[in-house]
């Protein structure tokens, strides 16, 4: 009892303290604005806060893309909410502003943003000092793909393969798996955004809690995060309503929205921003991702829902899924080959570049999955169509195939976070004509 009282006392103390310990100012406006392209060198960088702040001389530091400091000591204005730092005359290029001010209660707040002089400004995630993706980001990206597969693949399986009523237990498990996917996509999405923000801000954890995320939210990656979070919150609501009202028709908009909002990854990744990207590369990337999600998520539903809990549906579900998987594999391979050719201009990039080496691992896993799927398609499926009894090892085989699918998603996660080799410079369009 004494221990319980102590714990209650500590909890109350912890809740009471932050009010006096964590006061901080919020950034209201910057000059130049986030990611602004300027035609002339600005004379200063100015920050306006919602409360009075104290500024040390290094409160605002402006870096070139090579890390050279081009700003002078920061000064507070007559209005204590404004801090200004003078700038040297800046040549054409991109610049990173890192700021840190002390709120009047002695606690610091910080942030980062970029701007360009006669040059497009990079997003804040590519600010000078950002170290790039870490192993944690690879893992988080993989978890995101898995959650998306459970959600979109599960919905696709229910609507396209196991179309009729399911036994109550199987129905419950279907909703549990898809629900885990829906929650996972939202939670892991938030985590991914925060990891990327932490890398850009380069702050210790306690300072990061008060870091300004608005420049990141307005970057392409941030816009994708905002849109996808809202979209998947809506998908979760639809999924819940479908479960509550037992109206399967609500799963259709949930599936379409899930696949649609998954395009946020394609519209903010390599296929959208790297050299050579176009609407076609974005479409191919989305088709690749959607097909992989439907395939892996469908396998999970087949192995963990239909097989153990709906034995009377095993044969028909397997045969239908086999047909669907064939179409998905065709899409997956076509889009994958197109994207590989686009991102690796030379065959030798496959073994000489880090991106290519990861791609080789992924291709190896895909080959294994294809062999596995081919065995199901060309051996098991004809036998089942002729009325042969179900093989006892089939559920284990399905689990194995879905495990390989998940491993492919891991390789895909590392690829997404890796930088493809630089594209060779484009030849002038009228080079031939000039020669002539």
């Amino acid at each position: 009892m004494k221990r319980l009282v102590t714990v209650c006392y500590l909890v109350a103390l912890a809740l009471a303290l932050p009010g006096t310990a964590w006061a901080h100012a919020a950034l209201m406006k910057t000059t130049p604005a986030f990611a602004q392209r300027l035609e002339r060198s600005p004379a200063f960088v100015q920050l306006r806060f919602d409360q009075s702040v104290s500024a040390l001389p290094n409160a605002i530091t402006v870096y070139t893309d090579k890390g050279r400091v081009v700003s002078g000591p920061a000064r507070p204005g007559a209005d204590r909410r404004v801090v200004t730092a003078p700038l040297q005359a800046l040549p054409r290029g991109v610049y990173t502003v890192r700021w840190r001010v002390v709120s009047a209660d002695s606690h610091s707040v910080a942030g980062v943003f970029t701007f360009g002089v006669r040059h497009r400004a990079p997003p804040a995630t590519e600010a000078f000092g950002a170290a790039g993706p870490t192993t944690a980001e690879h893992v988080v990206r993989w978890l995101y793909f898995l959650a998306l597969a459970l959600l979109a693949g599960g919905l696709g399986f229910r609507l396209l393969v196991a179309r009729g009523p399911l036994p109550p237990q199987a129905e419950r498990r279907f909703y549990r798996i898809v629900g885990v996917g829906a929650v996972g996509v939202i939670e892991v999405g938030i985590l991914a955004f925060l990891l990327r923000a932490e890398d850009a801000l380069q702050l210790p954890f306690t300072n990061f809690l008060y870091g300004d995320l608005s420049p990141l939210a307005s970057a392409r990656f941030g816009v994708a995060f905002v849109t996808m979070t809202l979209g998947f919150a809506l998908v979760s609501a639809l999924l819940f309503l479908a479960w509550l009202t037992e109206r399967r028709v609500l799963l259709w908009p949930a599936l379409l929205l899930a696949l649609g909002f998954a395009s946020g990854l394609s519209l903010s990744g390599h296929s959208a921003v790297d050299a050579g990207s176009s609407w076609l590369s974005e479409l191919a990337d989305w088709a690749h991702l959607a097909a992989a999600s439907l395939w892996v998520g469908g396998l999970v539903q087949l192995a963990f829902v239909v097989w153990p809990l709906a034995p009377e549906l095993r044969r028909s579900a397997f045969l239908r899924f086999s047909k669907l998987a064939t179409a998905l594999i065709v899409i997956l391979l076509s889009a994958g080959i197109y994207l590989s050719v686009l991102r690796l201009p030379h065959l030798s990039d496959l073994w000489s570049e880090g991106y290519g080496q990861v791609l080789i691992v992924k291709l190896g896993l895909v080959s294994l999955a294809l062999l596995w799927g081919a065995a199901h398609h060309f051996v098991v499926r004809p036998a089942l169509e002729q009325g042969a009894p179900l093989f006892s090892g089939l559920p284990r085989s399905l689990i194995g195939e879905s495990a390989v699918g998940m491993a492919i998603l891991l390789a895909a996660a590392v690829l997404v976070e890796s930088k493809p080799p630089a594209q060779p410079p484009a030849k002038p369009l009228n080079a031939a004509a000039t020669k002539r």
Binding site: L15, A16, P18, G19, T20, W22, A23, H24, A26, L27, D50, Q51, S52, R80, R81, S103, A104, D105, V109, I190, L194, A197, F208, L209, Y210, G211, D212, L213, S214, L216, A217, G222, F225, V226, T229, L230, A233, L234, S236, A237, F240, W243, L244, T245
Partner: protein
């Protein structure tokens, strides 16, 4: 273009007021009268769930600090969870009465998050005072749904839950960003700008 924070607080205040009044009416007239129309049973849980969904845009658009974003995210999730659990119970999809505990859980998490995410002291400005006030109101108010889970027929605890929502809405309606509280505005807050 984002609306000022207090506008958003006022919108949610309206939602909480409706929620509180529904619960109060239910507590006063009792189950028998309240459920004469089947849809009424879904009214307040549906409202709570919808408010949870509507909190997501607040989370993703107000990103001036990490902790602010996380606080709004946690409110969105616990409101959706509490509303969904009550809807599941009303519909008969959930049977265990302990699902009612998601409501006190939502209160406790929301209150704690309110206190943690407010970085200023009580008398810094009106919004800071209200955030502290709301945090403690909601934490203490968690007792009502907690006890009501085990004494579902007690009008006292159910009314307490309803009135907690009403008080919460009044506090949110009082919110204005940088405005004095009891005639005091911290010099650190700068000038009142709205």
């Amino acid at each position: 273009m984002l609306p000022p924070a207090e506008f958003v607080h006022w919108m949610f205040a309206t939602g909480f007021l409706l929620l509180g009044l529904c619960l109060l009416a239910h507590a006063i007239v009792g189950d028998g009268v309240w459920r004469r129309r089947a849809w009424r049973a879904y009214l307040w849980p549906g409202l709570a769930f919808a408010m949870g969904v509507l909190m997501w845009p607040v989370m993703v658009f107000f990103t001036n600090s990490t902790i602010h974003m996380l606080a709004h995210g946690s409110w969105a999730q616990v409101m959706m969870l509490a509303g969904a659990s009550e809807l599941g119970l009303v519909r008969g999809k959930l049977h265990n009465r302990y699902w009612h505990l998601t409501m006190p859980l939502a209160f406790a998490v929301s209150g704690a998050t309110f206190l943690i995410h407010e970085q200023n002291s009580w008398l810094f400005a009106r919004s800071a005072f209200l955030h502290h006030m709301i945090g403690w109101t909601v934490i203490v108010g968690a007792l009502f749904p907690l006890v009501a889970t085990f004494r579902p027929r007690s009008a006292l605890w159910r009314s307490g839950l309803a009135l907690t929502f009403v008080v919460l809405s009044v506090l949110l309606y009082c919110d204005r960003d940088t405005a004095p509280i009891f005639g005091h505005l911290s010099p650190l807050a700068g000038e009142q700008h709205r």
